[in-house]
């Protein structure tokens, strides 16, 4: 089991705030990680530093043993929590856009997912319900062929039924070569697919470990453990 992503002594400061402080984490290939914590704990900042949208203040990030570069960035598929899709685009235009943007994009794969979940590619993004937008964003992110996938709150703003569909897409897209990092407030709905969890608290690493071991050790679900840690 190789370390596909290593985070060493990572600190990210803004002029008036420390967003991440001395984070040390390593991520193994083939596992699904839950990145958890309340708003402002640093989850999104961490993802953005990994993808290279923000530069760290100090510390290092290695992807498959290599420091951050345009090549390593290309090996990470990031789905932000915001809806970044152009309202006027039809779904098929968005797919084409991704196809043009990313050489690793698997058009057939995303079209199959969209077909399975009944998303009409002729629809304009602005006309899609929040559930469908959520599904589309996840499907697009998971249709790239890379080593690391980071989904920032994939279940946000999505109705209960659509959440099940999204979890299903995640499980089906996963294999032993891919590492998923999923941040979510909805711990109870994501926890059963997680191999490991990482809890951030005020920019610091509070806890990390194998999900099943934590359940065994504490006799608690990850959700209940979360409540303990953050109360």
């Amino acid at each position: 089991m190789t370390q596909i992503l290593e985070i060493n002594n990572l600190t990210k400061k803004y002029y008036n705030k420390v967003a991440l402080e001395d984070i040390n984490l390593s991520f193994e290939r083939g596992k699904i990680y839950g990145l958890m914590g309340p708003n402002g704990s640093g989850k999104t900042t961490l993802m953005k530093v990994i993808i290279g949208l923000h530069k760290q203040t100090s510390g290092s990030i290695l992807i498959d043993g290599n420091p951050l570069s345009y090549k390593t960035k290309a090996n990470v598929s990031y789905m932000p929590t915001e809806n970044f899709l152009y309202d006027n685009f039809k779904v098929k235009d968005v797919v084409k856009f991704y196809e043009d943007m990313y050489s690793d994009f698997k058009t057939e794969y995303v079209l199959q997912i969209l077909k399975d979940i009944n998303v009409d590619t002729e629809f304009r993004v602005s006309k899609l319900s929040s559930g469908l937008v959520g599904k589309l964003k996840v499907a697009l992110a998971l249709s790239r062929d890379v080593d690391i996938y980071m989904l920032d709150e994939p279940l946000n703003g999505v109705d209960v039924l659509a959440r099940d569909v999204i979890m299903d897409i995640i499980v089906k897209s996963h294999n032993e070569n891919k590492t998923f990092i999923i941040s979510s407030h909805l711990v109870s709905e994501t926890e059963k697919v997680l191999d490991s969890v990482v809890f951030l608290k005020e920019g610091r690493l509070e806890l990390s470990g194998d999900a099943e071991e934590l359940r065994q050790q504490h006799g608690l679900s990850i959700e209940n453990l979360y409540k303990e840690v953050y109360k």
Partner: protein, 119 residues
């Protein structure tokens, strides 16, 4: 299948499979779905299912034929011992539960006879 997130999920899957084997829903020599297929069916991470299969193989409840898949044991002795283990667990739970509401073991035996639960 619904999961109780307060305890390891792989244990719950194993428990369910053992129940299916004893109930005859899974027959000796039956082929299990691949860990990938089964994980998708259950909505779980395939690592969890892979672990289930691995643990069950260590307990000799299933065996893997390279390239062909994972199969339920054909040993009727093994299946009997699984049945025995599960029965033991159920009795232990029963005894614990009854003790908590004030029954002694003797009380429990009399109670079972009196209420005709064994008829």
């Amino acid at each position: 299948m619904e999961f109780n997130n307060n305890m390891p999920i792989y244990l719950q899957v194993m428990h369910r499979l053992k129940q299916d084997i004893i109930a005859g829903k899974l027959k000796p020599g039956d082929k299990m779905p691949s860990s990938r297929e089964y994980s998708q069916e259950l909505g779980l991470n395939f690592n969890t299912v892979a672990r289930v299969y691995k643990e069950m193989e260590m307990e000799d409840i299933v065996y893997t034929k390279r390239g062909l898949g994972t199969f339920i044991t054909e040993s009727s002795e093994k299946i009997e011992s699984i049945r025995f283990e599960m029965a033991k667990e159920l009795i232990e739970n029963f005894v614990n539960g009854m003790e908590q509401i004030g029954f002694t073991k003797q009380d429990m035996l009399s109670f079972i006879k009196e209420t005709n639960l064994m008829n």
